[in-house]
């Protein structure tokens, strides 16, 4: 509805949740809007369009970023994981299961971003400390839960998270 204009479109090739997609988009398209409007992946939310609230977070080339601040064309050739890509063949990821069991979900608006931030953490650091968990999700604001059960869910998930045989432990910032 919103994007009809006379701008010359550009081609972009991205891999989203393991699937290669080729699209024609307007040059000022933002990654968050590409995901939501062009690909129908509305699990990624819009909260502020300033990179402050974090609900638009996605994993881009292995790093968690706020997609409202990423011009879509910047992600050209990139690999993106959204919340829809965390589950496998209808089976929920361990983090999703723990979020449910621990009651870490209330209104749910920050949940996709929290899951992705947590996944990004555990993929690089499978046994994080409490401080590391708090830090990893510090870029997503939650107004409902007080963060407690989200942190607990990540802690518990991390206890049974597989440590892949040869993943280098990337340093935490």
């Amino acid at each position: 509805m919103r994007w009809r204009s006379d701008m010359v479109k550009e081609k972009i090739e991205i891999e989203v949740n393991g699937e290669k997609r080729i699209l024609e988009i307007e040059p000022d398209q933002l990654l968050v809007d590409l995901l939501r409007e062009d690909l129908g992946l509305t699990g990624t939310k819009v909260g502020c369009r300033e990179g402050e609230c974090g609900v638009c977070s996605v994993i881009l080339n292995g790093k968690i970023v706020t997609s409202c601040l990423v011009p879509a064309l910047k992600a050209d050739g990139g690999r993106i994981t959204t919340v829809e890509g965390i589950e496998r063949d209808g089976e929920l990821h361990l983090l999703q299961k723990e979020f449910i069991y621990q009651g870490a979900i209330q209104c749910g608006f920050c949940t996709p971003a929290m899951l992705l931030a947590a996944k990004n953490l555990l993929d690089q650091n499978p046994r994080p400390t409490l401080e590391e968990i708090k830090r990893a999700i510090s870029g997503v604001l939650c107004r409902c839960t007080g963060y407690q059960k989200i942190i607990q869910a990540i802690q518990i998930a991390s206890q049974s998270f597989d440590i892949p045989a040869q993943t280098p432990r990337l340093a935490q910032d």
Binding site: M1, R2, W3, R4, S5, R36, L41, T42, G43, T44, K45, V46, G47, C48, R49, E50, E52, C53, V55, T82, V83, E84, E87, L92, Q96, F99, I100, Y101, G103, I105, Q106, C107, G108, F109, C110, T111, P112, L115, K134, R135, I137, S138, V140, L141, C142, R143, C144, T145, G146, Y147, Q148, K149, I150, I151
Partner: protein
């Protein structure tokens, strides 16, 4: 389900309501069941308003006033109308019905015609094919304003000759309490403490921005879809705005990404604007507010200036309390003024100012005042957070003066079963305050941790100091209005599944799950058998808004009533099959069995099928109204709220003496909730609410200069992050509420109320100086330390 009654003995001759005790152990209620909406949320599949496809919809945008107070002399829209792709440009005269919205008083124009009253007030509406075109059109509208003197404080507003914001003047409402003889009270006091507290505008900052999807139907009715806490109030207002009867306006609630009271009336604002555009163009309209727009224009927590004075005996017994509240309403009435007899933010604040204490002489005056600022509305606590900060800071400082442990002073004076409040209400049941206090004291190890605050010299040593503090509070269940009530329709299908038609709204608090648990328990089915329909005013009975911590109690009771209606034909059929009298039958966990011989049973759906076959329709309707509220407007005496939830909170903080930064290390928060229908979800409310209280204490405030909000976005309106979290220990105690389903009362708002003074009292304990104005950000704390060092007091 039968209730055996148990009597409670009291020393005094006070009539106490009898507590119900449930004969059978509960099957579903009281368990931390998994939220029924977990899956879709965790997979990112749940569609919120902005996620929904709405093909062919126009984009709606609002032109907003840059002035806080001005006349609109002329408005020129022709150029904008002429722009290609613009479907409509509307001004005040284009509003088909009443150009006014408001939950209590419809004094807020949908589109301002003669004047604007705050920065951001709407002066024109545009609907266009794309957002880009709509914004271009906004830029082509020309408005000639004549600036008027703005009024930015209650003090300015009440001065004789002050510019009038509304026709009837700037004093919107007053409220008072007169109990006993205040002069006599203070004469009997041996110690008197008088202080003034100020609290700022706060913003809900729910993560999901407001959005509305409006579809006008050619048959002459209209649908408004979006996140909303009050579908019925939204319907009523929009019907009036469009000049339609209420049955031609349908409001459907979409999943809400956080409400906290803000989405009680923001959907009315947004919805009315989009509805007018949709009605005029005959086309669907989608309107989304940007984050900055939400902060700029929607309802806030009322700022207040609170003067209070307390008198006590040397042994700590409270004898008198006097207070005055200057309550800044802002530009429009929203939820500030009185909804008789005890509804509305202002009267609620006045009623609650003296705190959950027994005080024989109480005098309170409140003034609700218009200004040219954004308007105060409902925000979690509805007036209570502000006054709780005041009375808990006052009582805490009094303890210091008396040389008493602040816990001892509070427990000496706080209410218990049989106590009389400041409105002379006798608390005849469900008063777990002391229990909550004792439990929090144990868990926090208060006795070990608390010691009197430091002398000034001690502040010069070291970099950091720790302190502990506490606060207690109480919060009503429901809203204290004559019209308070909730209704539900329930159908039990012949396969044992259940549909519940109600329109209170899930916004994360867990309403869908809680009510499903109650329905499942009452009917004897399991949780998965219950489905709650999407709240839709076309389908569900009028039940008021999802506010005031009322939903579990009122709708829960309505569900119990409806379930009783269904159980009659159901158990009749079971009785036929089992060959037993109805009185011996229990329905539970999908079975109906002989109370005296549980193995003799049938599946519930067998009985349901039989009922269906014999034309015994299993429909139930419940309409629950709570015990009537009463409040004398002249004296503030009466029984405004039929039950209260109680809380005690204790905080440990560490203050950086050199910078004033405060870190909250630990927070114990205990609550008497009557009955925790789902304990884990109650914990969730506690933890989230306490963090909101932490934000109130330490970092949140709207900074307004010349009527313009300086911090419109998350960047500068500071709410707590995960890095700001303390260890939070939630404690639940249960003193059952006779008027609540399974004894439950409300929880939604209570947690964020005593948290702030618990923290500021802990700061006072750490540095030996008080903060009287929120938030206690590092500069305020540093200044308090510095002043103390300079004064050496």
């Amino acid at each position: 389900m039968e209730k055996r009654k148990k009597k409670v003995l009291l020393k005094e001759k006070v009539k106490v309501l009898e507590l119900p005790v449930f004969q059978e152990a509960l099957g579903v209620v009281g368990k931390s069941e998994i939220r029924v909406d977990s899956q879709d949320k965790v997979r990112g599949k749940l569609l919120y308003g902005a996620d929904m496809e709405f093909p062919g919809a126009l984009c709606g945008k609002v032109l907003r006033s840059p002035y806080p107070h001005a006349l609109i002399k002329r408005i020129q829209v022709e150029k904008a109308r002429g722009l290609s792709g613009v479907a409509a440009v509307l001004t005040a005269k284009d509003v088909p019905g009443r150009n006014g919205i408001g939950v209590v008083i419809p004094d807020q124009p949908v589109i301002c015609g003669d004047k604007v009253r705050y920065v951001g007030d709407a002066v024109a509406l545009v609907a266009a094919e794309t957002e880009e075109i709509a914004l271009q059109a906004l830029g082509l509208i020309e408005v000639e304003y004549k600036s008027l003197s703005p009024v930015f404080s209650t003090e300015e507003a009440l001065r004789p000759g002050a510019p009038k914001i509304h026709e009837n003047g700037n004093l919107l409402a007053t409220s008072k309490i007169r109990k006993g003889d205040i002069a006599k009270g203070f004469m009997a006091a041996e110690v008197i403490l008088e202080r003034t507290y100020t609290v700022p505008f706060l913003e809900h900052m729910y993560l999901e921005p407001d959005v509305t999807l409006v579809t006008p139907h050619p048959e002459g009715w209209i649908t408004i879809k979006g996140p909303m806490q009050a579908p019925f109030t939204t319907r009523k207002n929009i019907a009036a705005v469009l000049g339609l009867p209420m049955n031609k306006v349908q409001c459907i609630q979409t999943p809400i990404g956080g409400g906290f009271g803000g989405k009680e009336d923001s959907p009315i604002d947004l919805g009315a604007k989009a509805a007018v555009l949709a009605w005029k163009t005959g086309r669907p309209v989608k309107m989304e507010y940007d984050r900055e727009e939400i902060t700029l224009t929607t309802a806030k927590r009322h700022p207040m200036i609170i003067h209070c004075k307390i008198g006590a005996k040397k042994d700590g017994t409270f004898v008198a309390f006097e207070g005055t509240i200057y309550d800044e309403q802002g530009a429009y009435a929203s939820l500030g003024p009185l909804i008789p007899p005890a509804g509305g933010v202002h009267v609620h604040a006045v009623i609650m100012l003296a705190g959950p204490y027994v005080i024989p002489h109480v005098k309170v005056d409140g003034y609700l005042v218009y200004t040219n600022h954004p308007y105060g509305g409902a925000m979690r606590g509805f007036g209570a957070p502000q006054v709780n900060f005041a009375h808990e800071s006052l009582v805490d400082e009094l303890a210091e003066i008396l040389g008493m442990d602040p816990y001892e002073l509070r427990i000496k004076n706080c209410v218990e079963l049989g106590s009389e409040t400041a409105t002379s209400q006798v608390l005849d049941q469900s008063v777990g305050l002391k229990d909550a206090m004792q439990k929090s004291k144990e868990a926090f190890q208060w006795v070990k941790l608390w010691k009197p605050g430091p002398k000034p010299e001690e502040l010069e040593k070291g970099e950091k100091r720790r302190g502990v503090g506490m606060a207690i509070g109480w919060y009503r269940t429901s809203i204290g209005t004559d019209s308070d009530g909730a209704g539900v329709n329930i159908h039990l299908m012949d396969d044992g599944s259940v549909l519940v038609y109600q329109a209170l709204t899930e916004m994360g608090q867990g309403l869908l799950t809680t009510l499903s648990q109650i329905a499942a328990e009452a009917l004897g089915v399991s949780l998965e058998d219950v489905r709650m329909v999407i709240p839709d005013t076309d389908v569900a009975p009028e039940s008021g808004p999802t506010v005031g911590s009322r939903s579990t109690t009122l709708m829960g009771n309505a569900i119990l009533m409806a379930a009783e209606m269904i159980k009659k034909p159901l158990l009749e059929s079971a009785s036929d099959i089992l060959g037993l009298p109805v009185e011996r039958l229990i329905a539970k966990n999908r079975l109906i069995y002989d109370r005296d011989n549980p193995d003799h049973c049938i599946e519930l759906k067998e009985a349901a099928k039989r009922s269906m076959m014999l034309g015994r329709r299993m429909m139930g309707q419940g309409w629950y109204t709570p015990p009537k509220s009463s409040l004398d407007p002249e004296t503030g005496q009466g029984t405004p709220y039929f039950v209260f939830t109680y809380s005690a909170q204790m905080a440990e903080v560490e203050v950086d003496l050199k910078t004033g930064e405060v870190e909250v290390l630990k927070l114990v928060a205990a609550f008497d909730v009557g009955k925790a229908i789902n304990p884990r979800m109650v914990e969730g409310q506690i933890e989230g609410g306490v963090m909101m209280g932490l934000g109130y204490a330490l970092m949140e405030e709207l900074v307004i200069k010349d009527g313009i909000i300086q911090n419109l976005s998350f960047q500068d309106y500071i709410i707590p992050t995960s890095m700001d979290t303390p260890e939070i220990i939630p404690i639940i105690v249960e003193h059952p509420n006779v008027h609540g389903p399974f004894g439950a009362k409300g929880i939604g708002e209570m947690p964020n109320i005593p948290a702030a003074p618990a923290i500021t009292n802990a700061i006072a304990n750490a540095i030996g100086a008080r903060i009287y104005d929120l938030p206690a950000h590092s500069e305020r704390v540093y200044t308090a330390i510095k002043d103390r060092l300079n004064k050496k007091v």
